[in-house]
Amino acid sequence: MPPIRQIRSHTVVLPYANIDTDQIIPARFLRTTARAGLGRHLFSDWRYQSDGAAKPDFPLNQAAAQGCQILVTGRNFGCGSSREHAPWALLDYGFRAVISAGIADIFCNNALKNGLLPIVLSADEVASLLANPGLELLIDLETNRITRPDGSQLGFQIERFARYCLLNGLDELGFLRSQEPAIARFESTRA
C-alpha cells in the first residue's frame, strides 16, 4: 500500500445519519470473488434509477462532485454488515477519506486496513462541513489536522498503530507475522 500523508480535495456531502453498508454497497453486488471494480456499484440504490440511469439529484451524480476524494456524512457511518466491500467500493470510486461524527467499529477497522481514512470529528464540526458542501480541505495525517480554506484547523485522532502503518505504507499482516515466536509460545503453553 502506498504511504498516505496528505489528502487535498473538495468534499461531497451526504447529510444522512446511520448510512449502513447495505446502502454503501447492496448485498447483490457481493457475489464476486474480486476486490476491484466495486466503485460502479457504490450507493447503487441511491445513485441509479431502476432502469440504470443516474438520479440527477443525488450528490455523487452532480458535476461538482466529480473527482472529489473526501466524503462528509451524518453520524454512525458504515453501520451494519462487516462487508469489506464497503471501503473497497468507496476507494475504487475515488474516495480516500470519510468524515463523520461517528463511524461504526467494523467499517472503521476495514477502512484503515485499505488506506481509506475514517475521520471522526465533533458533531458541531461535522455539522459545519455538512452545511458547506464542496469545501476544499487539506487532511494531514502527519499532523492529525484538517485545514479549511480560511486557514482554520480541526484536529482528529487515528488509532496509533494504524496511523503508523498508513504513514509508512506498511501492511499490518507483516507486523502480525513478525509475532510468530510469541504465537507459537502461546500455543505451546495451552496445548
Partner: protein, 465 residues
C-alpha cells in the same frame, strides 16, 4: 467475564503504540467474505496456519429451493454458484473442513457453530460476518471481522485488537406471555440506539436474561451489532452447560469435567464495574416491531408511528416505508412474511411460528417463506411435523440458508412490498431493491401472516399462552 477471556487470549498485550495480539480459538468461514482473503494469502505465498481451528459452511448466497440444492437443477444465480465453487476449492487446498451445499451439517454459520458444540464459553470466535456476536450467548468473545482480518486469522490465527469498553445491559423482572427474546433485544436497541454500543462489548444480565434458554440468548446476542456493539455476551450457567452436554464437538468425558470447571470461573465477579450500564424492566416490554429503516426505529406493536417534523433523515425513512406519523402500526397491510435467519431460524423459533399457524391459513395474497437456519434444524422441524404446519397454512418450506434476510440468492421482497421479517436488518433495500422490512418476532410474523395485517400475536394466542 470479558476481561478474563480477553486476558486469557492476549498473545502480546496492548501498548499505546500497538494493539493487542489476540489469539482466536475458532474461525468460521462462509462463501461471501472469504474469497478475497484466500487471494491475499496466495499473493503473499502464505499458508493457512491452523486449518484445524477453522470451519467453513455456505449460507449467504446459497439457493433454498430443494431442486437447486439436491436435484439436478442449476443454481439460478450464476455468480453465487461461482462463490460456492471458490469456497470448495479454497477449503480443499488449505485442508479446511467444509460443510458443502449438500452436507447434512450445512446451515447458517451462526447456527452451525452452536449446534455442533463448537461455540463454547471462554472461547474467542470470529467470522467475516457481523452477526458473529450470536456466539456470545455462550459466554464466548465473538465478533465480526472484515476480509483483510479473515486473511490475518487464516495466516496467523491472531488479530490485532484494541480492548473495547464494557457495557452492562441488565434486564430485570420477567417477560410477559407472547413477548419473546426478539422483543427484548428490539426494545434494547430502540432505547440505546443503533450507535449506542459503539466501541463496547455488551454483557446482558439480570433475571429476565437468566430465564432465557440458549436459543433465545442467541437471538439477543445476535442483534448486539445492531446497537453498534463490538460484541454481546451472556455469562455461562447451567442452561449453557446443559445445551452443550453431548454435542458432537463439545468436550466429552474427563475433558468435559475439566471444561466445566474452567467455564464456571468465567462469570463477571460480583461488584465488578462496567464502563457503562443500562437497566430495563422486562415486565414492561411489549411485542415490538420496527417501522423505519434501521433497527433502532422500533415501537411496541400497539403504539402509533412517531413523528419528527424537523428531522429530514427521519422523514426520509418514513417516506421510504410509506408510513404516516401518528398512524397505528397495527393493521398495516403485509405482503410477505419471512421466518428464518441467524436471528430467528432455530427450532424454537419455528415452533413458535407453528404454534400460531397450526390449523390456520395465511391470508389471501400474502407470501409466507419459512427457511430453517440449518439442515439439522430442518430435519428436527420435519420430525415433529412443523413443515406440514407451514405448508398446510399455505407457506413455502425451504432448504436452510440466509435467504430473504439478505436476498443474495434471489429470495427477495419486491419493490414497495411490506415484509414482516424475523431477521435483523430493516435497512433500505436489504431484502431487495425498494423492499420495506418490518422486524418482529416469529410470533408476530406468524400472526401477521394469518391476518395479512400487522397483528399483535397475543390476539391469536388466546388461552394457548
Amino acid at each position: 467475564m470479558f476481561q478474563k477471556i480477553w486476558e486469557r487470549h492476549e498473545v502480546v498485550p496492548e501498548t499505546p503504540e500497538t494493539p493487542a495480539v489476540l489469539y482466536i480459538d475458532l474461525h468460521l468461514l462462509h462463501e461471501v467474505t472469504t474469497p478475497q482473503a484466500f487471494t491475499m494469502l496466495r499473493e503473499q505465498g502464505l499458508r493457512v496456519r491452523r486449518p484445524d481451528l477453522t470451519l467453513a459452511t455456505m449460507d449467504h448466497s446459497t439457493p433454498t429451493r430443494t431442486e437447486q440444492v439436491f436435484g439436478g437443477a442449476p443454481i439460478a444465480v450464476e455468480s453465487a454458484a461461482l462463490q460456492i465453487a471458490e469456497l470448495e476449492k479454497n477449503c480443499a487446498q488449505a485442508g479446511i473442513e467444509l460443510f458443502n451445499l449438500r452436507s447434512a451439517s450445512r446451515g447458517i454459520v451462526h447456527i452451525v457453530g452452536p449446534e455442533l458444540g463448537l461455540t463454547q464459553p471462554g472461547r474467542t470466535v470470529v467470522c467475516g460476518d457481523s452477526h458473529t456476536s450470536t456466539h456470545g450467548a455462550f459466554g464466548a468473545l465473538a465478533f465480526g471481522i472484515g476480509t483483510t482480518e479473515v486473511a490475518h486469522v487464516l495466516a496467523t490465527q491472531c488479530l490485532l485488537q484494541r480492548r473495547p469498553r464494557t457495557y452492562a445491559v441488565e434486564v430485570r423482572g420477567a417477560l410477559s406471555p407472547g413477548v419473546t427474546a426478539k422483543d427484548m433485544i428490539l426494545a434494547i436497541i430502540g432505547r440505546i440506539g443503533v450507535a449506542g454500543g459503539t466501541g463496547h462489548v455488551l454483557e446482558y444480565r439480570g433475571s429476565a436474561v437468566r430465564a432465557l434458554d440458549m436459543e433465545e440468548r442467541m437471538t439477543v446476542c445476535n442483534m448486539s451489532i445492531e446497537a453498534g456493539a463490538r460484541a454481546g455476551m451472556i455469562a455461562p450457567d447451567e442452561t449453557t452447560f446443559e445445551y452443550l452436554a453431548n454435542r458432537p464437538r463439545a468436550p466429552q468425558g474427563a475433558a468435559w469435567e475439566q471444561a466445566l470447571e474452567s467455564w464456571r470461573a468465567l462469570p463477571t465477579d460480583p461488584g465488578a464495574s462496567f464502563d457503562r450500564e443500562v437497566h430495563f424492566d422486562a415486565d414492561s416490554i411489549e411485542p415490538m416491531i420496527s417501522y423505519g429503516t434501521h433497527p433502532g426505529m422500533v415501537l411496541p406493536i400497539g403504539a402509533r408511528i412517531p413523528g419528527r417534523s424537523d428531522d429530514p433523515v427521519f422523514n426520509k425513512a418514513l417516506a421510504y416505508m410509506g408510513f404516516t406519523a401518528g398512524a397505528p402500526i397495527r393493521d398495516q397491510p403485509v405482503n410477505v412474511v419471512f421466518i428464518g435467519s441467524c436471528t430467528n431460524g432455530r427450532l424454537s423459533d419455528l415452533r413458535a411460528a407453528a404454534q400460531l399457524l397450526r390449523g390456520r391459513k395465511v391470508a389471501p395474497g400474502v407470501q409466507l417463506l419459512v427457511v430453517p437456519g440449518s439442515q439439522q434444524v430442518k430435519r428436527a422441524a420435519e420430525a415433529e411435523g412443523l413443515d406440514r404446519v407451514f405448508i398446510d397454512a399455505g407457506g413455502d418450506w425451504r432448504e436452510s440458508g440466509c435467504s430473504m434476510c439478505i436476498g443474495m440468492n434471489g429470495d427477495t421482497v419486491g419493490p414497495g412490498q411490506y415484509a414482516v421479517s424475523t431477521s435483523n436488518r430493516n435497512f433500505e433495500g436489504r431484502q431487495g431493491p425498494g423492499a420495506r422490512t418490518l422486524l418482529a418476532s416469529p410470533l408476530t410474523a406468524a400472526a401477521s401472516a394469518v391476518r395479512g395485517r400487522i397483528t399483535d400475536p397475543r390476539e391469536l394466542l388466546g388461552g394457548q399462552s
